[in-house]
Amino acid sequence: MLRFILQKLGMALPTLLLISLMVFALIRLIPGDPALLMLGDMADPQSLADMRRNLGLDHSLVTQFLIWFKAVLSGDLGFSISTREAVLPLILERFTVSAGIVLVAVLLATLIAVPVGLLAAWKQNSALDLGLVMSATLLLSIPSFWLGLLLLYAFGIKLGWLPVVGYVSFGQDPWQALSYLVLPIVTLTLVEVGAITRMARASTIEVLRLEYIAHARAKGLSESAVLWRHALRNAFAPTWTLVGLILGNLLGGIAVLETVFTLPGIGRLMVDAIFARDYPVLQGCLLLITFVYVLVNLFVDLLYPLFDPRVKL
């Protein structure tokens, strides 16, 4: 087990190195200059040169990379170009915001979607099944930001029940935090419910065709016992993989929702960093996201045998 974990983590190291190189190269290919963006239309050549020197942008690219990489190895991700904040605490703070929303939403979505998928599979090809599949597909088909906007408009502006901008962390004031987070979480949950329901239905149908289910049925177990005791557990395995993938992908893809709901999350931070050419922040964010992606996948792999006893690590 431990060996497996270490092996997986060891394999992640070259990926992380490669990512940091790619990120470094990619972002510097973007035309534009952070110093120029900071000075704007008032930039004169002298102050531009001064600013570049202060930001360490006057070194060659290779030197810049080596300086950055050496610092990263000692746990120092540098300072933001725009705000001169230390990158590590900055991205960790933003990451917690996004991670909280994503985790809660995916958990809720799983709790809703798995029973629904099971039900649809059980009633396969009935009108109920068709209805559920169509609803799930429809949910999957709505652009998340549009759904978010509509909800924001309905509950924030028309009804005025929920605040439309701002953020309070859960530790500060749970009730207020909830009022800010309800809409983004609901939006994300609705969209993911679509994806997970479809997966849960498909894998349940697959499992229901297997022999041991027929066996269980033949033993005279009630249909619900078959479904809950035997099918659910086995059908959950592929769904669990999907949940892991969603978790990993969402952290990068949540930028759009964070824009709609004005949340200080890591997605928004990255998009802003691209626009401001804030190299250190973007490098730090992507490194963290990739690392988390690797960790989530590892976690999913580790828990997989729980759901599918046929798999041993």
């Binding site: 973007i30 652009p143 992908n249 759009v256």
Partner: protein, 291 residues
């Protein structure tokens, strides 16, 4: 919208009817196909005819609600929304199609190379591929758009690159499982070149999972196009796509809701069609179904 995980449709086998195959295609496939045809016809119609010039600015009739003249109203520059939707159908569908084709072509070649040659080539390619996979797709597209500049073909390239790793994964997986099969071995034994074997025998057998992946990628591409527009780096106006129409309708959500409702609805319908169609395709192509 983040791309939905690539192996989703493959990790879990298809929904298979427990009963004997029915004579009629399932209802969802019918709905999907009909919708899809309707949208393609709409896009073709947009090529031939629009009620107004979709780019013509008319400052005297800005933000008009739907009426007999402008069926779906006008936008903030007085352009006809219906005409723009028709033109946008073509652009949006075309962009998604091209992006998916790019990803499929590039991904198939890389995936087959990796899967067939194995060894160091495979390890290197897959390391690179895994790194790309771990990279948030929408941010990658955003970065590429920023580098090459926002244009129709920029977005095709950006999305194409962002989706390639998923294709590589799927193709390589299929190749790995296929190459040990007897008929591949046979092809090699009778003296066919590696290259011939690969394209003659292995490639066609990757087709089923690829088709399924391609349909879902088409959906992601449509969604990503609108998300990129929303983040400020989509297909640049004045060209119309559903995505940039939806994104630029944002300030008017309260005062001129028709600006957002219609493009949003069309994106939903297109995705619904694609997803349903993809389901049906998967049911047809899944090898386990044919047993």
């Amino acid at each position: 919208m983040s791309p939905k995980p690539s192996c989703a449709p493959l990790a879990a086998p298809a929904a298979a009817p427990r009963k004997a195959p029915r004579a009629w295609p399932p209802a969802n496939a019918l709905i999907g196909a009909t919708l899809l045809m309707a949208l393609i016809l709409l896009a073709l119609l947009g090529l031939l005819w629009t009620p107004f010039d979709p780019l013509r600015i008319d400052l005297l009739s800005r933000l008009q609600a739907p009426s007999a003249v402008h069926w779906l109203g006008t936008d903030e520059f007085g352009r006809d929304v219906f005409s723009r939707l028709l033109i946008g159908a073509r652009t949006s569908l075309w962009i998604s199609l091209l992006a998916v084709s790019c990803a499929v072509c590039a991904g198939t070649v890389i995936g087959m190379l990796a899967g067939y040659l194995r060894g160091w080539t495979d390890r290197l390619l897959m390391m690179f591929n895994d790194a790309l996979l771990a990279f948030p797709g929408i941010l990658m597209a955003l970065g590429i758009m920023a580098i090459i500049g926002a244009s129709q073909y920029g977005i095709v390239l950006a999305l194409g690159i962002a989706y390639t790793p998923s294709v590589v994964r799927v193709v390589r997986g299929s190749v790995l499982s296929l190459r040990e099969l007897e008929f591949i071995e046979a092809s090699r034994v009778i003296g066919n070149s590696e290259l011939y074997t690969m394209f003659r025998h292995i490639a066609p057998n990757c087709l089923a999972p690829l088709c399924v992946l391609a349909t879902s990628m088409f959906g992601w591409a449509l969604l990503s196009e609108s998300a990129l527009s929303f983040l400020g780096l989509g297909v640049p106006p004045p060209a119309a796509t559903w995505g940039n129409m939806l994104a630029s309708s944002r300030p008017y959500i309260a005062s001129a809701s028709w600006l957002g409702i219609f493009p949003g609805l069309f994106i939903c319908l297109a995705l619904l069609a694609i997803n349903l169609f993809g389901d049906a395709l998967r049911d047809r192509l899944d090898p386990r179904m044919r047993k």
